[in-house]
């Protein structure tokens, strides 16, 4: 007996039919397709990832929508926070070219069945790659919409088998002040950068491990070769260039909570009604546009994640 398969889109997908003209949609599909085929030196040079980066392309879901709200890559790739490389957003894409990601490894330890070292390139192949178009809301009150490629974080967690006593997952990025001048210039900050999630947050379907962006491997400024994307939280939770994963019983101390505990909390959920860390959060700017829009609770993902906090 044949069964008809009906695909019900996930509730978090940004609806393409809102405003996307067909020609834009078609051209974007062409663009993404080209990016995947190129995936190489020309794209690398243009978007600023290291020529030595050995990425891994993903197969796109054909049903994945392409909203016109997607931020132009030239903007998203040249307006970045990555303080390891400096504080000037417009220069990070150049400075982060020094990040060498070939042979990148992630240490896994803490409350986990098998502490181990993951070879990222090998491990990423264990998971089906998919595209997610997410809003990313920075705590500095600006936002972008980005097509990521990668896999749900929960798939990785399941493979790593944390012990039942684990309640949190802690992420740590690389430490290399020789190539990342910000880690030397701002020496009094607690490098390397750290972030964390409750395990139930980390297992939520929206929590995503990104290895690609705009159809090609992550360039340095976006957190090559692998980063976290947690779209309902402020952007600083989405730690870049992950080098260590640790499962813990206690809430881990994170970089910004260490530096400024009165300004930053562990949850860091997008809440337009709560001024946070020096910025009012009711509105957000859209880079590249003279436009300010209202910020939505949980960055527009309240229907999916509010239950985590009830």
């Amino acid at each position: 007996m044949n069964r008809m398969r009906i695909k019900i889109p996930e509730s978090w997908r940004i609806p393409e039919q809102e405003v996307t003209p067909e020609d834009i949609y078609v051209r974007r599909r062409e663009f993404l397709s080209t990016s995947l085929k190129l995936g190489s030196a020309a794209m690398a040079a243009f978007y600023g990832f290291s020529p030595s980066t050995k990425g891994w392309s993903a197969e796109f879901e054909s049903s994945n929508p392409s909203p016109s709200a997607i931020t132009a890559e030239i903007i998203a790739s040249r307006f970045n926070n990555f303080y390891e490389f400096g504080v000037e957003k417009e220069r990070i894409w150049k400075l982060a070219r020094k990040l060498q990601t070939h042979g990148w490894q992630i240490e896994v330890d803490g409350l986990v069945k098998n502490p181990q070292t993951l070879d990222v390139e090998t491990w990423v192949r264990k998971f089906p790659q998919e595209e997610r178009v997410y809003r990313l809301r920075c705590v500095e009150a600006w936002s972008v919409v980005i097509p990521w490629t990668g896999f749900p974080l929960r798939l990785l967690i399941d493979k790593l088998e944390p012990l039942s006593s684990a309640r949190y997952i802690k992420f740590t990025t690389f430490l290399d002040p020789v190539i990342a001048p910000g880690q030397k210039k701002r020496f009094w900050e607690p490098w390397p950068y750290t972030e964390g999630l409750r395990l139930d947050e980390a297992r939520h379907d929206l929590a995503f491990m990104a290895t690609g962006i705009y159809g090609h491997p992550l360039p340095g400024q976006h957190g090559a070769p692998i980063r976290l994307v947690v779209p309902w939280k402020y952007g600083f939770k989405s730690i870049k260039s992950i080098a260590r994963i640790e499962f813990t019983r206690e809430e881990p101390e994170t970089f910004y909570m260490s530096l400024s505990p009165l300004e930053y909390d562990f949850d860091a959920n997008v809440r337009p009604d709560v001024p946070y860390a020096r910025w009012h959060q009711a509105f957000e700017r859209i880079p590249g546009k003279e436009e300010t829009v209202k910020t939505l609770p949980f960055n527009g993902y309240a229907n999916q994640v509010a239950g985590l906090y009830s």
Binding site: L175, P177, V178, K184, W188, P190, W191, S258
Partner: protein, 236 residues
């Protein structure tokens, strides 16, 4: 009879020398050492030979208690608040003034690094790196200046606990032109060198040759200092 008195005095002196509390200063004898590291950035290169005259360096970072005797209005940092914890949130100017009030001075960057590297005959006598107060949570705070570990010269916390001001202006290219004898840093600059790392910095920052810089008016919860003086009796 005279011989007996002399002998008794000698024995007494020897006893006192063996049982006296160690001085609060360590003597770093004159001699040469290799300054810089190729593990860092261009600011730490090239590794070069430096000859220094003998000098005394405080075995401890200046404590809150001692600093308050100099500045009764001093407000202790909440991250370093015990009596014997290091005085932090002190600018380079204030640190220099404190040392001068005791007829001493801040160590030169070369002196600091030589002391940090430990005795030439046993450089690794800087006790095991893993005991240094470093790589800890920020909320752990600074440790008492006379708490372990000490290095082979008996100097505490040159690695970790709190950053330390040194006297020199900072110039990233200085090592390419610095004098081989008693270098004192550039004649002018915008920033002063700081050394040593703090309780919450990764061990990378505490390596002996690593150089960092800050404007002299800056105060940090994790930045203190210690004083030095030349062994020849001068204050230079």
């Amino acid at each position: 009879m005279g011989m007996k008195k002399t002998f008794t005095a000698f024995i007494l002196l020897a006893f006192l020398a063996n049982n006296a509390e160690p001085s609060d200063e360590a003597l770093i004898p004159a001699g040469e050492f290799l300054m810089g590291t190729d593990q860092g950035t261009p600011a730490e290169r090239p590794i070069h030979k430096v000859e220094l005259g003998g000098f005394f360096l405080d075995r401890f970072e200046v404590s809150n208690q001692n600093y308050e005797a100099f500045d009764p209005g001093f407000h202790r940092s909440s991250a370093s608040s015990c009596d014997r914890c290091p005085a932090t949130r002190v600018s380079w100017y204030e640190a220099q003034a404190y040392c001068q009030s005791l007829n001493r001075r801040l160590p030169s960057e070369a002196e600091w690094e030589k002391a940090r590297r430990g005795p030439a005959e046993n450089p690794s006598a800087s006790r095991p790196q893993e005991t240094a107060r470093t790589s800890l949570p920020i909320k752990a705070g600074a440790f008492a200046v006379d708490s372990p570990p000490a290095n082979g010269y008996g100097i505490h916390h040159l690695a970790g606990n709190v950053w330390e001001w040194v006297n020199d202006w900072h110039d990233e290219s200085y090592y390419r032109t610095s004098p081989a004898e008693n270098p004192l840093g550039p004649l002018k600059g915008l920033r002063k060198s700081v050394r040593g790392g703090s309780w919450y910095n990764n061990v990378w920052y505490t390596q002996p040759g690593m150089r960092f810089q800050l404007a002299p008016h800056v105060k940090l919860n994790s930045l203190g200092f210690r004083c030095a003086r030349s062994a020849n009796g001068s204050n230079n």
